[in-house]
């Protein structure tokens, strides 16, 4: 790399982040995760590695979960992005978040936003996943604290709650 790379090309992009449409200036080399964290201060999306393996940075892009450290911000131009901040609120947790707290599926909470984003994508695509399917789906999300079993249980309970019509802010009854 030469020193000139600091002066990357600037681009203006349009993105819809957590339902809000906005324009922003980015460098050509800016990663989507940096863009979300730095430009919008959406710091719930975390960085846990530099080789696209931990999944702490997972967000929803155009209806799919993606590792936001593996995409450039410019590639998100024109797209819709949902981060953990757009999933539920303290007052009205999403059933997936509700299930995570109910099942003690987090400890330090660093992997948690990525886990929740991946899990939400799974149950969107497969509303009643088996335990093996959940474990398989979460292969790209590392957690060093919980040992996963409570996470798997949470995803399964959230899927059931969602299937029976639970919405954000409405207790799953678990």
């Amino acid at each position: 790399m030469t020193t000139k790379a600091v002066e990357g090309e600037r681009h203006t992009i349009q993105v819809t982040v957590n339902g809000k449409r906005q324009a922003a200036e980015v460098d050509s080399h800016t990663l989507l995760v940096e863009f979300l964290r730095e430009s919008f201060r959406l710091t719930g999306t975390h960085v846990g590695c530099d080789t696209s393996q931990c999944g702490a940075c997972v967000v929803e892009f155009e209806g799919n979960s993606v590792k936001s450290c593996t995409m450039l911000a410019v590639q998100a131009d024109g797209g819709r992005i949902t981060t953990i901040e757009g999933v539920g609120s303290r007052e009205a947790l999403h059933p997936m978040q509700e299930a995570f707290t109910e099942c003690h599926a987090l400890q330090c909470g660093y992997c948690t936003p990525g886990m929740v984003m991946s899990a939400c994508d799974l149950v969107r695509k497969n509303p009643s996943p088996s335990e093996a399917e959940i474990r398989d789906w979460l292969d790209g999300n590392l957690c060093r604290c919980t040992g996963y079993n409570n996470i798997v249980r949470a995803v399964s309970e959230a899927a059931q709650a969602l299937a029976s019509g639970a919405q954000a802010g409405v207790k799953s009854g678990a």
Partner: protein, 779 residues
Amino acid sequence: MRSEMKALKVLGQPLRRKEDLRLLTGAGRFVDDVKLESMLYLATVRSPYAHARILAIDKSEALAVAGVVDVIVPGDCPELDRPLPEVLEPGTLSNPYCDLHLTNPHHVLARGKATFQGEPVAMVVAESKLAAALGAEAVHVEYEELPAVHSAEDAMRPGAPRVHDANPNIIGHLKTAIGDLDAAFRKADFVIEERLAIQRLASMPIEGRGIVASWDARREEMTVWSTDQVPYRLRDALARMLDIHYDRVRIISGDVGGAFGGKGLIAEDLAAAALSRRLHRPVKWIESRSENFVSAHARDQYHDVRVAARNDGTLLGIDLKIVKDVGAYNHYEMVQTTNTVNHVLSHYKVPAFRAEGWCVVTNKVQMRPTRGAGRPEASFVMDRVLDFVAARTGIDPLEVRLRNIIPAEEMPYSNGLTYRDNVAISYDGGDYPRMLRLAAERLGYADWRKRQADARKDGRLIGIGISSSLEAGGVGPCEGARITIDDKGRVSVYLGVNSHGQSHETTFAQVCAEYLEVPYESVRVVAGDTALMRYGYGTGASRVGVNAGNAVMLAALALKQKIRALAAHVLGVGEDDVRLEAQRAFVASDPDRGRTFAQLAQAARANKRMIDLGGPGLTATEFFYPETVTWSSAVHMVAVEVDPGTGIVGVLKYAIVHDCGVPMNSAVVDGQLQGGTVQGIGAALGEEMVYDVSGQLLTGSFMDYPMPRAADVPPFEIEHLVTPTPKNPLGVRAAGEGGPVSPPAAFAGAVEDAIGKRCRITRMPLTPQRVFEIIRDAK
């Protein structure tokens, strides 16, 4: 001491965690989330060689990179021309066994030569993270590569190159003995000798290290956001470096994304603070995962063990020689090897025991503790020994254990060893034979033995492994807690310890709610800021539950006493006539006459009764000083099937029996146990820091370092027993290490049992390749 024992209402309940709402909605505040006005970014230039002389550093090209503010090499910054502080300063050893401990000064930037791949050589500060990284790449360092010392055996070889020119490679030595070992070997029916090795691995929290240091030139104060597990140690180190009162350094550690022993003071902490004061701007450093892989490792210890035993399976004596490879630097004296010595006898009676240990430097990454800190090594040795005795005598491994186990009637049991706080070891209760039998029951031990025999007929390899562990936890010196009630009756609990996933905001609120008799919902725990409490000794070594938990309990009781005294004065009755209930103090004989806690908090602002109640406000601070450690225990049993074609080890069933005394929150304890066990499974089946002979790390990413993933984890059959300890008023024992300690030993036993054919498993981890080789060689 236990006068307050009563039926518990809140303590122990699996209540929802108070930290979850924040963490689940993306509102956690981790160090990387801190962004300050005019902040600079720090990047480190690291040695690509394990051992090399530094001939010259040319920073001119780096200084020309747009955005680079400064490049620091040795000599540029006098504050940084000092070694990193030792965790245990030499000369303050309390270690009863250690008789040699040499310290090699560990400078912020390598002096003259680099001693491991990844050692900081220069640092760059810049206006952006990218500019700092590009600047670091543009620093040209001229090296002369030297032969690397790549293993402990290599380091101890006569004529081996020295890692540090001023000292020999052996930097630590300890020894201890109990009983008559020579007599034990004379009486033995047979003797077993083996070398048993536990690999080098790392804590690997999903968040790396980080710091933001911000010097306020007007007030001459330093504010730091850090991931450090022991914020007060960082505070004191920075105060010493900056030569200011420690009250002028404030360390904030909000949310920390896991630590497990690896997050302590490192070079960048000192550099960020020194540069912030020099440049009058905040300085941020966030460790990348690649850097995390070369910043601190753990374990890497081998054991030459000689065992004297009888044909009936009883142990007569163990002679143990331990060698620990600490990498290039060691800041933890011989704590971990000492832990191995003090946990190796585990749940068993061994009449004669001798241990000797050495710490050896090599050209590898420095050593830090990680979960278990010497204890997985201990259980690995003991359970391997018991399995070898079983194989030799033909007695079932479970039966061999029952023949050597400490009977419950002999509690409290002293084995003659001394803990590292210099207090004679005494196991404070627990029923080890019951735990072992219960684990066998939960696993279905007898049934698996039958299935194993049947499977053998079809050429399938099924095996059972057993491991017991002890965990001396709750080491002092102390922790404190301050509780205050405001004039709305809301309760705050202030602590001197931070949390990296241990659920302090929940568990300590439960302790407070229980003993102050207030609703859990009204209690808020505030911690992770050195401005709150004058001292704290860190979240590690499974010490916080015992120390801080009891401090909260004592503070709650003290505050109730204060409330009673003030209420008596306000109500004009004697203190004995005051009753406390439902956040209200009232006259026992006339319950309508009373004041709420909120009203009393208001009164406490100016009432003169407070003169001899510690001054204004409803607040109480107490410290808990444990006499010594308390002992938790666990038994793990696993049934596995080994695929002879691939060497892959599959778990058929996994059972754990665990006793950590009174749980503060049963779901939190269970979570600690499960998460820890999975870390132990990673250590058993895959994780290893592998170096080549030139000292290059071959496993520097998650691709090469296989941490367990969701699909690798079996369900666990868990039974929690509760034997309260008499050693503290709450009756709590340590809960952090019953998980990670036993899996390596349990899997070694199970795989060996599955393969049979007199194979011996002597080192970890059991990667498919290694298991495949063991099967091949056993044929």
